[in-house]
């Protein structure tokens, strides 16, 4: 069985450094907003006793480092050469290296930038995660959608584990054909899963992705645990 924790976080961009400081217990210096969002979400998903376990991070983003890219392009136009930190801030891959310092079990990370507004690739992330957990490659896989815009920052998370986490509310499996109610593959999937959990409707819910018809994912309620979806809004 693969247990799932859902998490959705929303921040005003100016409040993000403070939220990360609260989660870490110290300031996180010289980190791009996407890194801060990833760190805040990863720490909220995994309690301290789970942070040494072999873990992978699969994260997608619509915005990517949009604001940082605009800064870089402007520096290039004006000065012809960016400040090193401003270049680093446009490289989302470096987020994982900074997260590993507080999540020592993080063994691998994959960043998937999205190519269409309003669409996501959760079905792909979850299919990879399920396969890697089944193969024993990792004990936990964190799947996330992280976006940072001028006026809002958000992180939507599904933490998958071979052993139930303290706050698991769902189990997940790949199925040949989705049955029952289905969700579309959109960036806020974890929030909509939480809404479904809270509504008490139906025993299972599927993720439908027209782009990947053979990647059917089915969620089912865990009977023995309370629903503990976490939605944080600052």
């Amino acid at each position: 069985m693969i247990a799932v924790v859902t998490l959705s976080q929303h921040f005003a961009p100016a409040e993000l450094p403070g939220a990360v400081r609260a989660a870490l217990g110290k300031p996180l210096r010289r980190a791009a907003p996407l890194t801060r969002l990833a760190l805040a979400g990863a720490l909220a998903c995994l309690p301290a006793e789970c942070r040494q376990r072999p873990t992978a991070l699969l994260w997608q983003s619509t915005s990517g480092p949009r604001l940082e890219t605009l800064v870089l392009l402007d520096e290039m136009r004006v000065d012809g050469e960016p400040l090193p930190y401003d270049f680093l801030a446009t490289q989302p891959a470096i987020a994982a290296a900074q997260i590993q310092a507080v999540l020592p079990g993080l063994q691998s990370a994959m960043h998937l930038p999205l190519d269409s507004e309003g669409a996501a690739n959760w079905s792909l992330l979850l299919a990879l995660a399920v396969g890697w957990l089944a193969d024993g490659r990792y004990e936990q896989v964190l799947c996330a959608q992280i976006d940072h815009w001028a006026d809002a920052a958000s992180g939507h998370w599904l933490a998958l584990s071979r052993t139930p986490l303290e706050n698991s509310s769902l189990r997940l499996q790949l199925v040949n054909k989705a049955t029952g109610d289905a969700l579309a593959d959109t960036p806020d999937l974890p929030a909509r899963l939480a809404d479904w959990l809270a509504s008490g409707a139906g025993p299972t819910l599927s993720l439908r992705s027209p782009a990947a018809p053979r990647l059917a994912v089915e969620f089912a309620r865990l009977q023995s645990t309370r629903h503990r979806h976490v939605r944080i809004r600052f």
């Binding site: 949009r66 012809g80 090193p84 270049f87 470096i94 994982a96 290296a97 900074q98 994959m110 190519d115």
Partner: protein
């Protein structure tokens, strides 16, 4: 992983040629000259594509259509996995202010899919220098699990000033030659390329026997000098392939001529192979470091070399570094290679090892 995944077909456009076979021939002949790219008052060596078009987007289309033309017909529903570290930033540089960035950061991938005539599932991967192997890892995982049968994995890294300037600002580039593992190495040379690898459940000449990615958080610009994390990933890859270090016939190094990363890679290899070091080869002095495309570029080039049984010498290596004390091949070889290990060490801490095995 329930079934093997094969490397069914490759295509390549880079500074050394316009097909894998042409690139293999150029490598065998020792071609390694680089062009130049100007950045303000400075000039850096650079491995550019031989395309005359100056409009960035039209040039990108030419490059990608050229690579697509090397492949056999692809069904429109073929899944497409695109790897890049810079996507279309060169286009925005050229268009100038106001920079019209699309809402979705990888929107360039939609355009690429259109040029390729592919309308199936599509995903983009941006993991700095290991992007290509991350994409290959995802495709292999899904094919291995039976969730798809074929996929096209495309690496795209095209010229732009932002990347060059960023690497220059961090003093990671040489102004001279790429010298992997050499005592005089002082940085890497960047390049541009497009490479495609079609992976399939259908048997082909080579299979992906092992593939693992990893992470070294020692520093965001370089791995731990002791090589321990790099070694962990290579050991995981060997384990995935159910092989021992003694099974490896050839290692395609990451070695780009970087003072720190080359040393870390050497230390990692010594941890695994000890005194029984397989032949070592670096392709970057002849192709440049093509960043997000590099894994696929070097895989396509290497398989063409191995198919021709003509393994090139490593350009740029002449004087051993006593701290590294490993020696890339300086003579060409016609040895038959059945198993080749390919290493990537990425900017930002990404690591990857792939083990390609020839089908008996």
């Amino acid at each position: 992983m329930t079934r093997p995944v094969y490397l069914a077909e490759t295509a390549l456009l880079c500074a050394r040629g316009d097909s894998p076979a042409a690139v293999a021939g150029a490598l065998w002949n020792g071609e390694c000259s680089a062009g130049q790219r100007r950045l303000g008052e400075r000039t850096f060596p650079y491995f550019g594509l031989p395309l005359a078009e100056t409009d960035w987007m039209r040039r990108a289309e030419q490059a990608i259509r050229q690579v697509a033309g090397q492949l056999g017909p692809l069904p429109a529903e073929t899944p497409l996995f695109i790897a890049s570290s810079s996507f279309q930033i060169g286009h925005f540089e050229q268009c100038g202010k106001p920079f019209d960035l699309p809402v979705a950061s990888a929107s360039f991938s939609r355009r690429i899919a259109g040029w390729l005539g592919l309308a199936g599932p599509r995903a983009s991967f941006s993991n700095a220098c290991i992007s290509g192997f991350s994409a290959l890892d995802a495709a292999r995982s899904l094919i291995g699990a039976g969730l798809m049968d074929d996929a096209l994995v495309l690496g795209v890294e095209l010229a732009n000033d932002s990347t060059l300037a960023g690497f220059a600002a961090m003093e990671l580039l040489t102004r001279n030659l790429g010298r992997p593992f050499d005592a005089r190495r002082d940085g890497m040379i960047l390049g541009e390329a497009v490479a495609a690898v079609r992976v399939s459940a259908a048997p082909a000449s080579w299979r992906i026997a092992g593939l693992r990615t990893g992470l070294d958080g020692h520093s965001i610009t370089g791995p731990n000098p002791d090589g321990s994390r790099i070694a962990d990933v290579t050991v995981d890859c060997l384990s995935d392939a159910k092989m021992e270090s003694g099974d490896i016939d050839l290692i395609k190094l990451q070695a780009a001529g970087s003072p720190g990363a080359d040393l870390a890679e050497a230390n990692a290899l010594r941890r695994i192979f000890g005194q029984d070091m397989p032949p070592l080869l670096s392709l970057k002095p002849a192709l440049g470091h093509t960043l997000g495309a590099s894994g696929l570029v070097e895989l396509a080039a290497l398989l063409a070399c191995l198919d021709a049984e003509r393994i090139p010498a490593t350009a740029g290596f002449a004087e051993a570094d006593p701290e590294i004390a490993l020696f890339p091949m300086v003579d060409r070889s016609t040895a038959h290679v059945d198993r080749a290990l390919l290493n990537l060490i990425g900017f930002g801490g990404g690591l990857a090892s792939l083990l390609a095995e020839r089908r008996p």
